[in-house]
């Protein structure tokens, strides 16, 4: 398997993070990771970023906040 560069790795990092790769390509990327700390850190921190965002409850509306909005919407609808 020919060695790939960090640039090549970065070109595929999106698909790697999503698990969206053919087996041969993934193997090449993992071989690169085995001897490249920078790309390993990039991948690891990118994965952690995704998890932090997913678990953050960002911009969540509570029932208390949504209720009045729903009520207003329905009132406007009923008036038509």
């Amino acid at each position: 398997m020919s060695r790939i560069s960090c640039q090549d790795f970065m070109a595929e990092i999106g698909n790697y993070l999503e698990g969206d790769l053919a087996a041969e390509v993934r193997a090449q990327l993992e071989q690169h990771l085995a001897h490249c700390t920078t790309c390993t850190v990039l991948c690891d921190t990118a994965r952690k970023t995704i998890r932090v965002v997913t678990d953050s409850d960002s911009f969540d509306l509570t029932e208390d906040e949504l209720g009045p909005i729903t009520a207003t919407i329905m009132e406007r609808l009923r008036q038509r």
Partner: protein, 502 residues
């Protein structure tokens, strides 16, 4: 001692003035090359309703869209020598059909160039950055011609006459060319088995998100003993035949070239079917989200379709009732999806106050247009696309000088923060603090990246659903998601790096 050159070289020389490298590279398999050139002859070289110049212009446009530097260079060179291109409108259904055939041929040729990657025949011309796929309206009903002679070999091959070919009876010459090419590819003397070729066609169909051809190939494979469930799986996981051909070695064997030509044929048939909008021959087992009518390119192997049986929408019952005027049902839909619409609007607008305001308009619009909702996607996806459109329109009206919402100004993004993070960043701060931090950094992202990340990582939509909701192609959506995630990573790094905040 040199081998005699393939007979088709003479025709190529006559037509191009020389033998383009693409064809020179195939001289080792003269039977295949001759069949390919005969195909080209019927669709391009011979006089049809469109002038040669017009057809070449269409091929140039396809080459630009497919980003085929090889063909773009060649057509750029040839086109000026062919005379005036003339009017771009199509004055008859026959011309539309002709154009659709030529566009499909362009697709075919680009796939071959991708597989062989020959050097350009002239100083290379770079195709423009974002070239539009040439749009051709499907021809109004053409009077069907008499049963063409080509129907016999097609019936032999498929066991019946697929609608895709029935739709072309006004062009018996084109049908004959397709039949002859298919026959040559699948002749007894060929290197690959019939089954191998049908699998290649299935994968090509899946890459093109062409449900018609997937269904047809699944049926053909069933006759060869491949279970439909297995064909479904191959279509869904269409990397089974490997990545796009431009990362593999150019074929030097007949079997390799056959495989490439079969894949190119698949792209031809998909482009043709999409252009003619032919109805399926069999009930569809698989549909693809957001298929486009004029879908030219084979999608890159990373876009994943999903099996879509009819009743997959959990909101179907409420939507039915709401469409019949049941307001209580609609209220339940608002309650179910209010938070998601709100977050979508925050994603587009970047602030919560405007998002609250626009929420009302979004749901009112959804109610007004409920009768137009065709259930081609889930209700929630449709609702999100209404929200995103409303948000984008608001951005354009209220803040016209803000960041661009399209992809025209893409530069590379280089990650700078390369410190490792603490093992469990979610334990680094209290939950409320982490939330505030993430919200703050999300607000700072450009809108187009923020919404992409939020739909994927907060709403947890699939790539296809997110692309459909934002009315983007899957590759564009993926690029935005990646960029957004990397920018967030950059911004969050100083807070989560090992050894404490910087």
């Amino acid at each position: 001692m040199s081998l005699p050159e393939p007979s088709s070289f003479a025709l190529l020389r006559e037509q191009f003035g020389f033998v383009p490298r693409l064809f020179q590279h195939q001289a080792f398999a003269p039977r295949l090359l001759d069949a390919e050139v005969a195909f080209l002859d019927a669709l391009l070289f011979r006089p049809t309703t469109l002038s040669r110049a017009r057809k070449e212009a269409l091929l140039l446009a396809v080459a630009a869209c497919r980003r085929s530097r090889y063909w773009y260079t060649l057509h750029r060179h040839t086109l000026p020598l062919l005379g005036p291109v003339g009017d771009s409108a199509f004055s008859s259904p026959a011309q539309s059909l002709d154009a659709i055939l030529v566009r499909a041929l362009g697709n075919f040729l680009c796939t071959i160039a991708d597989g062989l990657h020959p050097n350009e025949d002239f100083p290379a011309a770079e195709p423009p950055e974002s070239a539009e796929c040439p749009m051709i309206p499907p021809p109004a009903a053409l009077p069907p011609g008499p049963q063409p002679a080509a129907f016999e070999p097609l019936r032999d091959h498929y066991g019946f006459i697929p609608r895709l070919f029935r739709a072309q009876t006004a062009r018996p010459d084109a049908l004959a060319a397709q039949a002859a090419f298919i026959e040559t590819l699948t002749a007894d003397s060929s290197a690959l088995t019939r089954r191998q070729k049908e699998l290649i066609l299935l994968v090509a169909a899946a890459r093109n998100r062409n449900a018609y051809l997937v269904a047809l190939e699944t049926q053909e494979l069933a006759v060869m003993g491949v279970a439909p469930e297995d064909a479904d799986q191959i279509a869904l996981d269409h990397r089974a035949a490997g990545r796009a051909s431009n990362v593999t070695e150019p074929p030097t064997s007949a079997s390799g070239l056959e495989a490439l030509l079969t894949a190119a044929l698949g792209d031809f048939l998909c482009s043709l079917q999409a252009g003619l909008a032919v109805e399926p021959d069999f009930p569809l087992r698989i549909t693809f989200p957001a298929p486009s009518q004029n879908n030219l390119h084979p999608q890159p192997p990373d876009s994943r379709p999903t099996l879509q049986p009819a009743e997959i929408d959990p909101d179907a019952g409420l939507v039915d009732a709401a469409q019949r005027g049941d307001l209580a049902a609609f209220e339940q839909l608002v309650a179910r999806h209010g938070r998601r619409v709100y977050r979508t609007l925050v994603g587009i607008l970047g602030n919560t106050e405007e998002a609250r305001d626009l929420m009302q308009d979004t749901f009112l619009k959804a109610f007004q247009h409920l009768s137009a909702f065709e259930r081609r996607s889930k209700f929630s996806t449709w609702l999100i696309s209404i929200a995103s459109r409303a948000g984008i329109q608001h951005l354009r009206e209220r803040r016209p000088r803000e960041e661009s919402l399209d992809d025209t100004a893409e530069e590379g993004f280089r990650p700078r923060q390369v410190r490792a993070w603490t093992d469990d960043p979610e334990q680094a701060y209290a939950k409320a603090e982490t939330r505030a931090l993430v919200e703050r950094e999300l607000r700072r992202l450009p809108s187009k990246y923020r919404i992409a990340v939020m739909l994927r990582d907060i709403e947890q939509l699939s790539t296809e659903e997110a692309a459909a909701a934002l009315e983007l192609g899957v590759p564009a959506l993926k690029a935005r998601v990646l960029r957004g995630r990397l920018m967030l990573r950059e911004a969050l790094s100083s807070h989560f790096a090992q050894g404490g905040a910087a």
